[in-house]
């Protein structure tokens, strides 16, 4: 076994022995500037071109060949600025002008390669439509902006003034909102702490429900991904394989590991309404009905139990499966040391309940009489809970044949090789080469419970944290949410505007859509204070988030909005009072994790050139802004917070009363890491720290196993929360899914009238990145605009032809509201007939390239009750009808 592991890795390297020599060579060349001799030939090329009709030829000679030789060539390592995983890049420069980005061989995440966005970003950097100077609005908000170009001083002064106005009263009413931002330490932590504002992320649109589900269930911060080097059987569950991320990464790393795994023989079962996502990489395609993943997961659990594919030792030792649950659904507790109560398990020997952990092998199954009442093990409860969830039952709901569900369950169970182990780094670890890759599965109405159920599928066979099994984060770090989730807070109003610890969403990370709803009508949610000033950092809610209407109602309430962005985002266009132009790639940023899950590495973004126009890096901007606000220096100031964030102590700590340059900050940090300084990164781009040891990666191997977190099969605290919510008068729609065990119920969107007979889903395209690339012309050329993927039979029934303009009209089953957008039909056999899909990258309007690209589904999705999860997360599903737009609008 051990050697197989080695082999696997060997083959993997072979597979990825694609690291292109040139880049390797560059890596050596970095420091040496190359001076290219303008060869005679080159001279001749220029002169020779005119050999015919010298003068006339110049009519047709394009400037493309006019470049002057000789020239100076050099290479600067930096990082992709478009994507989520910051692939390492090498910028090739000619006389200081960047002419190309290529993958940086040394970076474990992309091993010298780049995706189309990584390549095309050079077009974005040289975009003349970037915001060139700070702007101040000259017309009323809520419509396309008119602007006055101002100096940085004026823009910063105004922002500082507005911020301070509110800070004086209540700092939390200053809201710092970010999208998929990068250097958290400088932004989310240092800046936010320094001005004491509230902060809001984008996770409720990304996969926070999944993060919460796994933090709750196994204590890790992440969704699900396979130990790809060793997995043999993978459920690609809503993984957009050939286009987008999956868990944690942006893209490249996963496909690299996927092809290596498939060359090893890994099987892929693709569970997705679209086949396009997996392309040719699905061995089996299960076109599931959108939003019904929970049902499928439950059926798989039922089958695994029925077929006896159970890892009893794991369930007994590392999960709360053996814990005793009373008739009231609460876990039986016994007095422990002092007055603390300890959860009880059943001791077959003494035929009585004992404190969990006090005995080796408590009963995993069984119903017992105790103290007059009867109690069952959590596992017994779970078994009873899923009996009804048969393949036949699931077939009706998911649209997947019962036979297929059985086959998948059996194959999954077989491939799990329950009981086997493998020696990795000298440690013998359970070997369960079956896994799940899921990410955006979180973004559905039942997302939290669906992810819980999907995790339980892997728990039953003991694949969590096993070799070849399911991972969630790169290392086995228990997240700070794990503990508190054991006892959820449900307070009485008034609530803060994020509804944290409210009777509506006891688990809640902060959902911009919900915040917008609250801001529009605070009373309804028992909120008294709403934010007055917003600083938007790398986020474009108007374009990236549903639902636009809702967002606008909320943003109308802000007294002042400052947007930090390289482009005039749609949100800025409508709501910014001040726009601060940030640099794109031309800035220092970091430190950024560069691990591929197997090798530990850290990288920095190094500016390959000076910021274009008057733009600046965010860190520069925050240094100036905090200075203007008056919170740069001293204890608790921005500098102090940076010291804390980067743990810069002693000689490395930034003096609290001198304004440093950004490079100097990174230089201190680099030295604090034992490197000669930032120059290390300016030369190598990335610091590779070596392989992540087995005892960091595999839950079984860490000490204590699984970081000491008991895996929650049974979610008692959810049930408790539900009861409190009801006591406090929350409506059913809020508490219905707070159940101890994942429970299926009819989906809200399925209650829409029958004429809304299709389900709209949205997805990402490999050519585009959220709302930040559809205006990059090189990419817009590859993927020109909005479209509606529709199955041939569905299209035929509606007399819709390929390329026809169509209306997509959605209906809100709760409010009855309808909305419609126009798009273009794309007929494809790789989507369910009852489902239509749209990319979410379009529908922008501020950039000339965006004109005529068509609409975004985010205009017709809904935010709010019924269209969000129990943890305050956006669902990207809605019922629609699609009809030809010919003649009309």
């Amino acid at each position: 076994m051990a050697c197989e592991q080695e082999e696997a890795r060997g083959r993997r390297n072979g597979a990825l022995g694609v690291v292109p020599p040139p880049i390797g060579r560059w890596a050596l060349k970095l420091t040496r500037r190359r001076f290219i001799q303008g060869s005679a030939a080159a001279g001749a090329a220029i002169a020779g071109s005119g050999f015919l009709f010298g003068g006339l030829d110049s009519i047709v000679r394009s400037p493309a060949a006019k470049s002057q030789l000789p020239f100076v060539e050099d290479f600067i390592p930096t990082m992709c600025w478009v994507g989520k995983q910051d692939c390492g890049m090498m910028a090739r420069r000619i006389d200081g002008r960047v002419v190309k980005f290529e993958g940086l061989a040394g970076n474990p995440r992309n091993a010298g390669t780049l995706c189309p966005k990584g390549q095309a970003q050079i077009g974005a950097i040289y975009d003349p439509n970037r915001v060139k100077t700070p702007l101040i609005r000259t017309n009323p908000k809520g419509t396309t902006g008119r602007w006055r170009e101002v100096s940085w001083n004026e823009a910063l002064a105004l922002t500082a003034e507005k911020v301070n106005e509110v800070r004086a009263r209540s700092p939390k009413m200053v809201l710092w909102q970010k999208g998929r931002s990068k250097a958290e330490k400088f932004y989310d932590d240092a800046f936010v702490n320094a001005i004491g504002s509230s902060k809001l992320g984008h996770g409720a649109y990304c996969s926070d429900a999944g993060y919460r589900a796994l933090e709750y269930t196994i204590g890790l911060h992440g969704v699900q991904h396979p130990d790809m080097r060793s997995t043999n059987y993978l459920l690609a569950w809503g993984w957009n394989i050939t286009n987008a991320g999956g868990n944690k990464f942006c893209w490249i790393t996963w496909p690299q590991q996927l092809v290596a795994a498939r060359e090893r023989g890994m099987k892929v079962v693709h569970i997705d309404p679209r086949l396009r996502s997996a392309g040719p990489f699905a061995d089996t395609w299960l076109p599931i009905k959108p939003g019904t993943d929970l049902a499928l997961a439950l059926a798989l659990c039922q089958q695994l139990i029925e077929m006896g594919y159970l890892d009893r030792p794991y369930l007994t030792t590392y999960t709360n499966a053996p814990h005793l649950v009373g008739d009231d659904g609460l876990i039986l507790r016994l007095p422990g040391e002092g007055d603390e109560m300890v959860e009880a398990v059943w001791d077959p020997a003494s035929a009585g309940p004992v404190r969990a952990g006090s005995i080796e092998s408590p009963a995993l199954e069984g119903t017992f009489e105790h103290a007059g009442g009867s109690c069952r093990t959590a596992f017994e409860v779970f078994k009873a809970h899923v009996v009804g969830y048969t393949p036949e039952w699931a077939a009706d709901i998911t649209g997947i044949a019962a036979g297929d569900i059985r086959t998948i369950a059996r194959d999954f169970g077989d491939h799990a090789m329950i009981g086997s182990t493998m020696v990795v780094d000298g440690i013998e670890i359970p070997y369960r080469p079956v896994s799940i890759m899921s990410y955006h599965m979180a973004q559905q109405e039942l997302g939290f419970q669906a992810l819980r159920a999907m995790t339980i599928v892997t728990m039953l066979v003991g694949a969590v944290g096993a070799v070849g099994g399911v991972m969630s984060d790169f290392t086995w770090k228990i997240h700070k949410n794990y503990e508190p989730f054991g006892d959820l807070r449900v307070d009485d109003p008034p609530y803060d505007f994020t509804l944290k610890n409210s009777k509506f969403f006891p688990i809640n990370t902060g959902f911009p859509g919900m915040v917008a709803k609250v801001m529009a009508d605070p009373g309804r949610y028992g909120v008294e204070e709403i934010p007055e000033v917003a600083i938007l950092h790398m986020v474009n809610p108007m374009a990236s988030f549903p639902d636009r209407k809702q967002i606008m109602e909320g943003y109308d309430k802000f007294k002042f909005v400052a947007v930090i962005s390289p482009w005039l985002s749609e949100t800025a266009d409508y709501y910014a009072d001040v726009v601060l132009p940030s640099a794109t790639i031309e800035k220092y940023e970091g430190p950024i994790n560069a691990s591929d899950g197997y090798i530990d590495a850290t990288a920095l973004r190094i500016p390959p050139m000076e910021p274009l126009f008057e733009s600046r890096g965010e860190i520069d901007i925050y240094l100036d802004l905090t200075e203007a606000i008056g919170t740069l220096f001293g204890e608790g100031g921005y500098l102090d917070e940076i010291n804390k964030g980067l743990t810069l102590e002693g000689e490395f700590a930034l003096p609290l009363y001198v304004k440093p340059t950004v490079r100097e900050i990174f230089d201190r940090w680099a030295r604090s890491q034992g490197l000669e300084g930032v120059s290390y990164f300016e030369e190598h781009g990335v610091q590779v720290k070596g392989p992540i040891a087995a005892d960091k990666r595999y839950g079984y191997a860490v000490d204590p196993p699984f970081g000491g977190a008991l895996h929650r099969l049974y979610g008692e605290s959810l049930l408790v929360a539900q009861r409190t919510m009801r006591d406090k008068g929350a409506e059913e729609i809020y508490w219905q899914d707070y159940t101890a065990l994942p429970t299926w119920r009819q989906l809200t969107f399925d209650r829409s009238p029958p004429e809304y007979d299709l389900t709209l889903i949205s997805y990402k395209q490999i050519e585009h990145k959220q709302s930040r690339t559809s205006f990059v012309p090189l990419l817009a050329e590859l993927s020109p605009g909005s479209r509606v993927d529709i199955n041939p039979s569905t299209a035929a029934a509606r007399a819709i032809g390929h390329g026809d303009p169509v209306w997509v009209e959605s209906q809100n089953a709760i409010t009855g509201e309808t909305r419609r957008i126009e798009s273009v039909a794309a007929i494809t056999s790789s989507i369910r007939p009852d489902t239509v899909g749209m990319p979410h990258h379009f529908g922008l309007w501020t950039h000339p390239v965006n004109r005529g690209q068509g609409a975004s589904p985010n205009e017709i999705f809904y935010t709010g009750e019924g269209y969000m999860g129990q943890t305050a997360d956006q669902s990207f599903h809605v019922k629609v009808r699609v009809y030809p737009a010919r003649g009309e609008g």
Partner: protein
């Protein structure tokens, strides 16, 4: 003398089109010109749908129809296998394009500077680039290549001449991989000397079955496809690019 060839591993290709972008940027080609093109194909009926991807550079045919028909010898075959176009000799008759069964030739329908991606004559940008077009202009393309010393590298040189994939002659002569090969995230593209037994291409030819596109046309392509299968009559192209200007 090396004999260059490209191996395309269809069992790896993700259809991501990074190769297309790398090619465009490296070779400074203008709008709607795709020396490298990646087909995204669909066949079969739901739910038995099959998808496949097919990268299509110039095949650098050993028996190249395009070379045969060129009336002025601007399109020529080199000993090392590269099929190149002499941008200073081409008269723009577009006969090579018609002779080519693979549709890989692109003509400069207008002045290249009229087909740039953005209006780059911006003072802020010119300050950095000195006003060259495109701003990421690659100077290697202005250099004459090969012992024949002809202007053959890169795109966007003249209005009214034919261009196509050059196998990145300017990189290959520097000992670098072609741009598309270098960027491919999953190593689906492999480039090298077929005659070098120890080389990757030769190894693949030994170990795995392969096919070439339109072999029946007798063009003897230098691009070999591993895994997957040739497109059939019922392969339907989806997700076409914005290709008409």
């Amino acid at each position: 003398m090396a004999k260059y060839a490209m191996a395309v591993d269809l069992d790896r290709c993700q259809g991501c089109r990074a190769c297309m972008e790398a090619c465009k940027i490296e070779n400074n080609t203008v709008q709607s010109v795709f020396w490298m093109y990646v087909f995204r194909l669909e066949s079969g009926e739901y739910p038995d749908t099959k998808m496949s991807f097919l990268p299509r550079p110039c095949q650098h045919c050993d028996n190249a129809p395009c070379v045969k028909v060129c009336p002025v010898g601007a399109r020529y075959k080199r000993q090392d296998g590269l099929v190149l176009t002499d941008f200073e000799r081409c008269i723009g008759c577009r006969y090579c394009e018609l002779a080519c069964p693979y549709g890989v030739n692109y003509f400069n329908w207008t002045k290249p500077e009229r087909r740039q991606y953005l209006d780059f004559d911006d003072p802020g940008i010119a300050a950095v680039t000195g006003g060259v077009l495109p701003p990421y202009q690659n100077p290697d393309l202005a250099v004459k290549h090969g012992e024949e010393q002809r202007l053959t590298a890169g795109g966007g040189h003249f209005k009214g001449v034919m261009e196509k994939c050059t196998f990145c002659v300017h990189r290959v002569e520097k000992g670098l991989q072609p741009a598309c090969v270098a960027t491919c995230p999953v190593g689906a593209l492999v480039f090298g000397d077929v005659e070098d037994e120890s080389g990757e291409v030769a190894r693949m030819l030994r170990d795995r079955a392969h096919f070439r596109l339109l072999e029946e046309a007798g063009t003897r392509p230098s691009v070999m496809y591993f895994g997957g299968a040739p497109p059939t009559g019922d392969s339907k192209e989806i997700e076409t690019v914005k290709a008409r200007v």
